[in-house]
């Protein structure tokens, strides 16, 4: 498998490039149903070596190009510019968005802003309760969602027999990932707040958000576990390991960076989530920091929503300040995820 992938990667290179060996690339092209998958892998391999993509060959039709030829080339160039322009729209939107938030919010951030509670008087308002609430929420959600999702991923990859039950679970997870977050809010409201009597507490919120990001972490973890080569498992079994020993001592440690990256990215989604928490009735005006998981709370996105909804300009600026803090938090989490990926990425 590894060999065929590598040769697949080689065949991607252009014949114009000097190849170290004289093998005919086309003969080594992998065949069979897994072709698309291998092609994708091979592409990744080429990307990593930094090899050039095939370039458009120059059109040579006799000595002079015809009028139609020129038109085709102009059209081609126009399309190239169009595509590049479209790609820039996304980037530009991000830049403008960040610029706007920085412009409005940077002046808001000082020590008082971080250490004061929300207030009806804009000059005195701060985000202390929301910031502490978000950190609580992050920790609780991580503690709840991580073991459950990794457990599910291990089951699906390492234990599950090929049966309709497994297929059902897998399809179900894919579909859950597409359910709008507000629907999870309804579930949280009816199940945790009302039926289980947890009230409008941090715990209700964390449980709701955990269910929301469960499918995301499961899918990422499955991918990480699948990337661990089978030879590792076979070697462990060969030495007399039980299935759980092989998973716990060999597979999990190797898959952990991938699992953690996926988890952090999913958690950063939970930290930015607003709608489900409005559903479970988290308070927007909280002038205390929560002391335990059963306390009422607010989080940064809720505080932002609360401020944005007010017509006064001062509150909009407060919202921009809070957005900056939230974005900084998300950026830090993404940074950790990227660091983990780069630091522990190993090729098997």
């Amino acid at each position: 498998m590894a060999e065929s992938v590598r040769s697949g990667g080689r065949s991607r290179r252009r014949s114009g490039e000097k190849s170290l060996d004289e093998r005919e690339p086309l003969d080594l092209r992998p065949r069979g149903p897994q072709h698309a998958e291998i092609t994708a892998l091979a592409r990744e391999a080429v990307d990593e070596t930094g090899a050039e993509e095939p370039r458009e060959p120059p059109i040579r039709l006799g000595a002079q190009t015809t009028l139609g030829e020129r038109r085709r080339r102009t059209l081609g160039l126009a399309f190239h510019v169009l595509c590049a322009g479209a790609a820039m729209v996304g980037v530009l939107s991000l830049v403008v968005l960040l610029g706007q938030v920085l412009h409005d919010g940077l002046g808001q951030i000082d020590r008082d802003f971080l250490t004061s509670f929300a207030s009806r008087i804009p000059e005195r308002a701060g985000i202390k309760a929301a910031l502490v609430g978000s950190l609580w929420m992050l920790a609780l959600t991580a503690v709840i969602a991580f073991p459950l999702s990794v457990g599910a991923a291990i089951y699906l990859e390492e234990y599950a027999p090929k049966s309709w039950i497994t297929t059902t679970i897998q399809t179900n997870i894919a579909n859950l990932a597409g359910v709008p977050s507000i629907v999870y809010g309804i579930l949280g409201l009816a199940l945790f707040v009302r039926a289980m009597g947890l009230g409008r507490s941090l715990l209700s919120g964390a449980l709701t958000l955990s269910l929301l990001i469960l499918p995301v972490i499961i899918l990422a973890s499955q991918e990480a576990i699948r990337a661990v080569p089978d030879s590792i498992r076979q070697a462990a079994y060969g030495l007399g390991a039980t299935r759980w020993q092989a998973v716990r001592l060999q597979v999990l440690p190797m898959a952990l960076p991938g699992i953690l990256t996926g988890t952090i990215l999913a958690l950063s989604r939970a930290v930015g989530e607003t709608a489900p928490l409005i559903m479970i009735g988290a308070l927007s005006f909280v002038a205390f920091t929560p002391q335990g998981p059963l306390d009422q709370f607010t989080v940064l996105p809720l505080q932002i929503f609360n401020w944005v909804s007010r017509p006064q300009e001062e509150f909009r600026q407060l919202a921009a300040g809070a957005i900056l803090v939230l974005l900084a938090m998300l950026l830090a989490m993404n940074g950790v995820a990227i660091f983990l990926r780069n630091r522990y990425q190993r090729r098997h």
Binding site: A87, L156, L211, G272
Partner: protein, 289 residues
């Protein structure tokens, strides 16, 4: 013994997701049935007025559904062409280095919290639109649709790019060999070959737009009216749920039940679109070799 216990525990973790789905469906269904015991399903689906919180109550979901449709259409107009062209650029044109910067940057767009998009729509897009159309409402569908469109660009571009890149290189080389230009190769060979994945990405992105909540409830307003004018204030299904949740609605009242009826409608629509997207992907996939 311990081995078996661990196996069962892991199975329980995986089974939990099925319970979540069952829980969602049960809870939504129970309250929705309660709602339909008081309001006829015909009135709900065909009524053109939605005023559950007023004295004279009307329960026609059409204004909310039209609001969601307006946002989804506007978002698609923004995201489909930009997302697809971006995907073609990343897959066919961009150098390796350009792509390695572009892709994570676009993924950042997907990572920005939706409440931030709401702020952006209200403080940047709406004033911009009002410069050209001064009669625009402060809360309007257009600004929300634009930011939702920006928000779903990465969904389209990322999934479409995966589909484009999965097209075998031999197809491109064959077309180049026949003298085709890059434009012709891209649009006449690669895009048709990847069409199932591209269409699936469109459907998935639009389903996200329908389920989008915060940006819409901040920027598009809370006025449930049946209009096709994007410069007017509207209310989507999601925004209605948020609006009711912000107030204190006692359990068991008809307004409380409308939450579940609307959420159930939303759930069914997005679920149908997600399943459709998966079906398109499987059914129309071009398989090579």
């Amino acid at each position: 013994m311990k081995e078996r216990a661990i196996g069962w525990a892991l199975f329980a973790c995986a089974g939990l997701s099925t319970l979540v789905t069952a829980g969602i469906v049960c809870i939504l269904l129970r309250e929705t049935l309660g709602f339909f015991s008081e309001v006829s399903i015909v009135e709900y689906l065909t009524g053109t007025e939605w005023t559950p919180q007023f004295g004279e109550k009307h329960f026609g979901v059409l204004p909310l559904a039209a609001g969601s449709l307006l946002i989804a259409t506007g978002a698609a107009i923004v995201a489909v062409p930009i997302g697809l062209l971006t995907a073609i650029y990343m897959s066919e044109y961009a150098r390796h280095r350009t792509r390695s910067v572009l892709k994570p940057t676009l993924e950042l767009l997907a990572g920005v919290p939706t409440v931030v998009y709401g702020y952006f729509a209200l403080t940047f897009i709406t004033p911009l639109i009002r410069q050209f159309f001064p009669e625009t409402d402060i809360f309007n569908a257009a600004s929300a649709a634009v930011v939702v469109g920006i928000m779903i660009i990465p969904t389209v571009s990322s999934l479409s790019e995966d589909a484009l890149r999965a097209v075998p290189q031999a197809l491109r080389e064959g077309a180049f060999g026949l003298g085709a230009t890059k434009l012709e190769v891209s649009l006449r060979v690669v895009v048709p070959a990847a069409l199932s994945g591209i269409v699936a990405s469109f459907i998935l992105a639009i389903s996200r737009a329908v389920g989008e909540t915060m940006a819409v409830s901040i920027a598009a307003g809370n006025l449930a009216q049946l209009t096709a004018n994007p410069l007017k204030s509207i209310q989507t299904m999601t925004a209605y749920v948020v609006q009711v949740s912000l107030g204190d609605t006692p359990q068991g009242t008809i307004v409380y039940q409308t939450l579940f009826a609307v959420a159930f409608t939303l759930f069914l629509i997005t679920l149908a679109m997600n399943i459709l997207s998966q079906w398109v992907m499987r059914r129309f996939r071009e398989v090579y070799e």
